[in-house]
């Protein structure tokens, strides 16, 4: 079994520090490396958010810890906030961290199919991070063309006033994509080839399925934007005219290439979040996931649909207006597969026996928040309504509700839930609960009212709303939102403290503190170098909780009931 992993670990557990923690091929170490990078970026992204909010609420006053925010710098902040949060926080956290750490553990493998490739991808990602950080310091400053980098604004420096910022931004994105591309190859091959005996496709935990679907969607959608980025780099540096109408090109081309990737990307982030929610809910509700297969099929359908909805970002972009309704229809139809997933999650709660530890609270919070975000998505999906709310804060509020629900809340649920397995210690329960309630309250206080700001017509990415008469009514709201946003950011200290403190002095965790069924809990916390002393043999699906007539309310996947009953006989 798993000869591949064995081949790559013939020399067993490397002893020296570098091979063990820095240039490690161990998927668990790599996951932690991604986690470190993601948390670092999250801090930076949070700081940009604070500056953005400050400028909106108190335009042209000195922001504490920074000073005045010139309009150009404001655009750079907006650009970097989007780039960082989507590509350097959400993706590493949800895919790289949980995917790398859990896929091999959950399928009973010793490591990824290509451990060295895995190491390569984390180091490419690190390189991308360095390149992106560099862009802050080059003459002209960070890119300021928006995280969507629409040309011509991004194509000519005299338009943005930037220098190498956009070039570095493009290079960083290309590297980041390459890294996750290799990661996706690894995920898929690992799940195809290294499943433990008995781990059939339909016994895989939902999270693994979601990671795989996300990987496929990412790999099939990222190509055009890589090509598009190359073309944009050439436009900037070789004088080509792909996006310059004067030279026969067309700026709209970039928007199509970008969003053909950009929308699937959204589901690449959402699906793993659902996976985490379902894993956590099943455990803390002591109930099998309701409609396991339909959930998986629905996610596949959603992934498929995500390839034919991208133009709903472009209803008003100058795209042929006849295209709008077809894309509007496909977009709104997406509510069906996601609705099915959400209702199945709710159905999982029916007749359950819930205990509300921190992971459960975050999972439930994520569910509640996502429903709101999903429903507001229907407004944006409808072409006529989009005429008014496109590029307003309604859109901003909407995608923060959907993305933060699955990055922030689901991500935290996952961290609190798997922290014992990752680091061998429990996180502090009281601090965790405080963290949840503060986050939940302030999050809704920030992004709930933001919908009203959008309904008021406030455009995205304007640094000074007070320049517009028709925005006078929303100014008090903006101030309130900023206050709440600062409190939301501050309340994350509860997590930082909890994380660091538990890392060093948390209660030592048992192998299976939550009494879960999935394979990662059958090995010690943290797992040894090759995960399992003996390759586990799988006898059942991942969610056999509260089985009738079973003496216990859980049946681990590798629990051999026949052998057990034989052993029970005198």
């Amino acid at each position: 079994m798993n000869d591949i992993a064995q081949k790559n670990h013939a020399h067993g557990n490397p002893r020296n520090f570098w091979r063990l923690y820095v240039f490690s091929t161990d998927h668990k170490v790599i996951a932690k490396q991604y986690l470190g990078l993601a948390l670092f970026w999250a801090l930076l992204g949070g700081f940009t958010a604070y500056l953005i909010r400050w400028q909106i609420a108190h335009p042209d006053t000195e922001a504490w810890g920074w000073g005045f925010i010139e309009p150009g710098v404001y655009n750079a902040l907006v650009t970097m906030h989007g780039t960082i949060m989507v590509f350097f926080v959400a993706m590493p956290l949800l895919l790289a961290v949980f995917g790398n750490f859990l896929i091999p553990l959950m399928i009973g493998a010793r490591d990824m199919a290509f451990p060295r490739l895995n190491m390569l991808s984390v180091w490419i990602f690190a390189l991308a991070s360095i390149v992106l950080i560099t862009s802050f310091f080059v003459p002209g400053g960070a890119p300021a063309a928006g995280w969507t980098g629409y040309p011509p604004l991004s194509a000519k420096n005299e338009y943005t006033g930037g220098g190498y910022g956009v070039d570095l931004w493009l290079v960083a994105l290309a590297l980041e994509f390459a890294s996750f591309l290799l990661g996706g190859v690894n995920f898929l091959t690992t799940a195809m080839n290294l499943r433990a005996p008995g781990m059939t496709w339909l016994r895989l935990p939902v999270l693994v399925w979601m990671q795989l679907i996300a990987a496929v969607v990412f790999m099939l959608s990222v190509g055009p934007i890589i090509a598009g980025a190359v073309l944009l780099l050439m436009d900037r540096n070789l004088g080509t005219t792909f996006y310059a109408p004067a030279g026969g090109g067309d700026p709209l081309l970039w928007q199509h290439l970008f969003w053909f990737f950009g929308h699937p990307e959204v589901y690449v982030i959402l699906l793993p979040g659902f996976g985490i929610i379902l894993e956590v809910l099943a455990v803390f509700a002591r109930k099998p996931v309701f409609a396991y297969r339909p959930i998986i099929y629905a996610s596949m359908v959603a992934g498929l649909l995500s390839f034919i909805v991208w133009a709903h970002h472009q209803y008003l972009s100058g795209m042929d207006p006849r295209l709008a309704m077809p894309f509007s229809i496909t977009t709104i139809i997406i509510s069906v597969p996601f609705g099915l997933v959400v209702l199945s999650i709710i159905a999982t709660l029916w007749g359950s026996s819930m205990s509300f530890q921190t992971p459960m609270l975050f999972a439930l919070g994520s569910l509640g928040v996502f429903i709101f975000g999903g429903l507001t998505g229907i407004f944006n999906g409808s072409a006529p309504v989009d005429i008014y709310i496109h590029d307003t804060y309604f859109v901003v509020a909407h995608f923060h509700y959907t993305l933060i629900s699955n990055v922030f809340f689901a991500g935290f649920a996952g961290l609190y839930y798997w922290f014992p397995k990752m680091f061998g210690r429990m996180m502090n329960e009281a601090l965790g609960k405080i963290h949840f309630w503060l986050t939940f309250i302030f999050f809704n206080a920030v992004f709930g009212p933001m919908h009203l700001v959008g309904v008021g017509g406030m455009m995205r990415r304007i640094s000074n709303p007070t320049q517009y008469d028709f925005l006078k009514p929303v100014e008090p709201l903006n101030m309130f939102i900023t206050l709440m946003a600062i409190l939301l950011l501050v309340s994350q200290l509860a997590f930082v403290i909890n994380f660091l403190w538990s890392l060093l002095a948390g209660k030592v965790a048992t192998a299976n503190p939550w009494r879960s069924n999935t394979l990662e809990w059958t090995t010690s916390s943290p797992p040894p170098h090759e995960n399992f002393a003996a390759t586990p043999v799988v006898h059942r699906g991942a969610y056999e909780y509260s089985v009738p007539h079973a003496q216990d309310d859980w049946l681990p996947q590798d629990f051999d009931s026949d052998k057990a009953s034989k052993a029970a006989l005198p």
Binding site: M192, N193, L194, T200, F242, G248, D250
Partner: protein, 191 residues
């Protein structure tokens, strides 16, 4: 459950092949997006055929021939390694590398000719696409050459795994690059 059966035998074969194919599955949209952009802009624009007529068809023909042949030589190397004749495999791989290199050299010459005639990447949308697509393709060829070179040395040294599976994987990538050229050639030179 085809793949499920494979779960049981842990030989590298399926893993490497599946991985390579997944990688190619993301390369297809990369070049696909490029070709699609070229096609729609060309159908909607004007003056493309005129610009294209300045290209040197003979060099392109020679290059097509080189790349097709290199595709043949690398499968020959694969066939050889399957018959466990690593020396012959090394010869064919060396041939493949040479063919690839001469493709790049020809391409460089072609660029030189065009630049001397004043057709730069900035000389219009057709030239933008010409340099963009052939450039990206050339990069892929270059990467393939390096891979093949490494395998060639390994095969010559006899340090290649007995099943020589890696040659097939390198071949998959190399053939894909060849297929891309198969479409670039008519799109740029003939149409």
């Amino acid at each position: 459950m085809v793949t499920n059966a494979r779960t049981m035998d842990g030989s590298l074969e399926p893993a490497g092949k599946a991985g390579t194919w997944w990688f190619l599955s993301s390369e297809i949209p990369t070049f696909g997006g490029l070709l699609v952009s070229y096609i729609v802009l060309r159908l909607g624009g004007s003056g493309w055929a005129e610009a294209s007529s300045h290209l040197n068809l003979n060099i392109a023909l020679a290059n097509t021939f080189l790349l097709l042949t290199s595709s043949m030589t690398i499968v020959m190397a694969h066939a050889a390694v399957q018959e466990n004749d690593h020396k012959r495999a090394a010869k064919f791989l060396a041939l493949t590398v040479l063919l690839g290199l001469s493709f790049l050299i020809m391409k460089a010459l072609e660029y030189g000719v065009e630049i001397r005639h004043g057709f730069l990447p900035g000389s219009g949308i057709f030239w933008s696409f010409y340099y963009g697509m052939t450039g990206l393709h050339a990069l892929h060829v270059f990467a393939g050459i390096i891979v093949n070179l490494v395998l060639c040395i390994q095969a010559a040294r006899g340090s290649l795994a007995p099943n020589g599976h890696r040659i097939e994987l390198a071949g998959l990538y190399w053939h894909f690059v060849d297929i891309v050229w198969i479409f670039l050639f008519p799109l740029l030179y003939l149409a």
